[in-house]
């Protein structure tokens, strides 16, 4: 469940990395902004004179969030990354960090420091399933993520735009010689990633029922870890990595104290996740599904 959200966010990282070779540190903040916009829109639409059904409210709110996040990502790319495309490799990393700090604090100014709670649009129903408990919200999250990820895979693999994206990832120069508008494709990649991030933001918010201006950073970090685990730059890898990391974390949280004879409690779930990551990377330095690529210098 958590894994499918990681997978959605990880896709955004991996798409950008595949094309630009850049860790987009601001991506986690886009997720947070998505959650916050949904919150604001739900509050706004609920106060509408003509009453809307809860489903319609949520739908409108999510669409607004996707639009806002897409525009935001477009702007981020334009302002912070495009001018630095030929700069030393670490320069865009610093602007990305600057962007992340900037967005986090702007969000804090707009939405305040408090934890926000998700409005009760739907009542949560819990199903018992072979000893495991799962709520209707979680079922919904899994279905939505699977739908979105399949749509994305189909787009990338079978459409003109998808082909242009793959070509740009392979080599921007040659793609542009073949008539691909590279700048357009890069913007599109950021916008697509942000749309996924917005959806992921809503899903996280709906599941935990709380949102906070600092929620994006850790989530982004985990998602990036997931992308690396699966082999960065590889879409299927990002999905696999996300789901694996989600599983590892939950299993780690549940069983870690049995493994270590009570020495380490569930606080160590992140240690467990990172140790698995290090283990995987030591055995397979390019991630589970990554291919060995030549160094970019």
């Amino acid at each position: 469940m958590l894994g499918s959200v990681y997978a959605l966010v990880a896709l955004g990282y991996t798409m950008v990395y595949g094309i630009l070779g850049l860790i987009n540190f601001a991506h986690g903040e886009v997720v947070m902004i998505g959650a916050m916009v949904v919150l604001t829109m739900i509050g706004f639409l609920s106060g509408f004179p003509a009453p809307l059904s809860n489903g319609a409210i949520l739908l409108f709110a999510v669409i607004t969030a996707i639009l806002v996040c897409s525009m935001l990502a477009f702007l981020i790319e334009r302002v912070a990354y495009r001018p630095l495309r030929n700069a030393p490799r670490l320069a865009p990393l610093i602007t990305a960090i600057g962007m992340s700090i900037l967005l986090q604090n702007i969000a804090m100014i707009i939405w305040g420091r408090q934890y926000k709670t998700f409005p009760d649009l739907f009542s949560t129903v819990s199903y018992s399933f072979g000893g495991a408990n799962i709520t209707n919200v979680q079922v919904f999250i899994i279905i939505i993520s699977i739908l979105i990820m399949s749509a994305l895979l189909l787009t990338i693999n079978f459409t003109r735009i998808g082909r242009a994206m793959r070509a740009t990832a392979e080599s921007p120069q040659i793609a542009s010689l073949m008539g691909v508008n590279v700048n357009y494709i890069i913007s599109l990649t950021f916008v697509l990633g942000a749309a996924l991030a917005a959806v992921a933001g809503v899903l996280v918010f709906a599941n935990y029922s709380v949102a906070h201006y600092s929620m994006g950073f850790m989530l982004g970090l985990k998602a990036f870890t997931a992308a690396v685990l699966g082999g960065i730059g590889n879409m299927a890898g990002a999905m696999l990595g996300g789901i694996l990391l989600g599983l590892i974390e939950s299993i780690g949280a549940g069983y870690i104290s049995d493994f270590t004879g009570g020495f380490m409690g569930s606080h160590y779930q992140d240690v467990f996740a990172f140790l698995v990551l290090i283990g995987v990377l030591v055995l397979r330095p390019t991630g589970i599904m990554g291919e060995r690529v030549a160094d970019r210098t």
Binding site: I23, T95, L102, F224, G262, H267, Y268, I278
Partner: protein
């Protein structure tokens, strides 16, 4: 050609030893009386801020060895700072009842942090670029989580509460954090630590500059530029990379130890990921690989947020007629903007290294 002649004419004075020594002594005098000027003009808090800037300087120089010289992107550098700080805290506080003298703890901290550097370096030798970045990031988090949770079943680090009452550095029975009277002048703890840290920082700068032009430094730079070619030239890349990790980590360890003794208190709060990122920003913003650039970047990034803290409320009052925006957030917004703008204007840092 003409430009070159002009350049030589203009800077001929730099070759005159008398003028060079005059310049050095002017800088030395300025550095020596700086804390007194600052205390007299803007207050004692700023001397402390300066002290922390010097500690950050040592950290940034250490990270510069790993990132700037050897080209290994390390996002968990603060872990070594934490190791150094906790080593000091455990060996010189009531926590275990140990009160070792500083001349024993500094080498211990140096070695322990270096050991942790090798511990991180060894399994990650085969990783390149961003894979390495994410593993180092994970390592930093692992260290922090352990520090946060090692208060049970055996209490080692006191958990999130941290360790209190750490001994200051003391020489001949005089604790350096107390105000001392020397030759009729009162030196507060912040002043004494300023001189101590200044000496340490200058030592670090000296070591870094000597390293850069040594066989070792050239090997690191060769690895940074092209690892395969470096290996083909007979450089033992494995040992060189491990050495870079260990050296960088030891710098961080010493900085951490001095930090613990200066602050008198450590907790896992001080060693979060954001700190690693800040130190990295100092290195990259100042000019990766160039020792003086790194020092400049550190001074800017350690002091700028403090200036913004002081001015973000008054500016709002004069422009908007009241404090409308939370000054703390505004400060960080401006800080983020500054990072982006500087990188856009000077992508290779404010004072980049000459070699490419």
């Amino acid at each position: 050609m003409i430009n070159k002649v002009f350049y030589l004419e203009k800077f001929k004075s730099f070759q005159n030893p008398k003028i060079v020594w005059l310049g050095y002594s002017l800088v030395a005098i300025t550095l020596a009386i700086l804390p007194f000027i600052i205390e007299a003009s803007i207050g004692r808090t700023w001397v402390r801020i300066l002290d922390f800037a010097l500690i950050y300087g040592m950290l940034a120089l250490g990270l510069n060895i790993v990132v700037g010289f050897a080209g290994l992107l390390d996002l968990g550098y603060i872990a070594f700072y934490a190791v150094g700080a906790y080593t000091w805290a455990l060996l010189a506080s009531p926590q275990f009842g140990l009160h070792l003298p500083f001349w024993l703890i500094i080498p211990i901290g140096f070695v322990v942090a270096g050991f942790f550097g090798v511990l991180l370096g060894a399994p990650t030798l085969r990783l390149r670029g961003d894979y390495l970045a994410i593993v180092t990031l994970g390592f930093g988090e692992i260290v922090r989580i352990f520090l946060n949770n090692l208060d049970h079943p055996i209490n080692i680090t006191n958990g999130p509460v941290g360790i209190n009452l750490i001994d200051p550095i003391s020489v001949g029975g005089y604790a350096l954090t107390r105000t001392q009277q020397i030759a009729g002048v009162n030196f507060s703890g912040a002043h004494i630590y300023y001189y101590l840290l200044l000496v340490l920082l200058l030592a670090c700068i000296f070591v870094c500059i000597r390293l850069e032009n040594s066989r070792l430094g050239r090997a690191w730079i060769a690895i940074r530029e092209d690892e395969t070619a470096a290996q083909a030239m007979g450089i033992n890349t494995r040992n060189m990379k491990l050495l870079a990790f260990a050296m960088g980590a030891s710098f961080g360890g010493v900085a951490g130890g001095v930090f613990a003794s200066f602050q008198g208190f450590v907790s896992p709060e001080s060693f979060i990921l954001l700190e690693s990122i800040m130190v990295l920003c100092m290195v990259v913003l100042g000019g990766m690989g160039n020792v003086w650039g790194v020092v400049l970047g550190t001074l800017l990034l350690a002091i700028l947020p403090e200036i913004l803290r002081d001015i973000s409320s008054p500016i709002q009052e004069s422009l908007l007629g009241g404090v409308w925006i939370d000054p703390e957030s505004l400060r960080m917004v401006l800080f983020g903007l500054a990072l982006i703008l500087v990188m856009l204007v000077r992508p290779s840092g404010l004072w980049p290294s000459k070699k490419h």
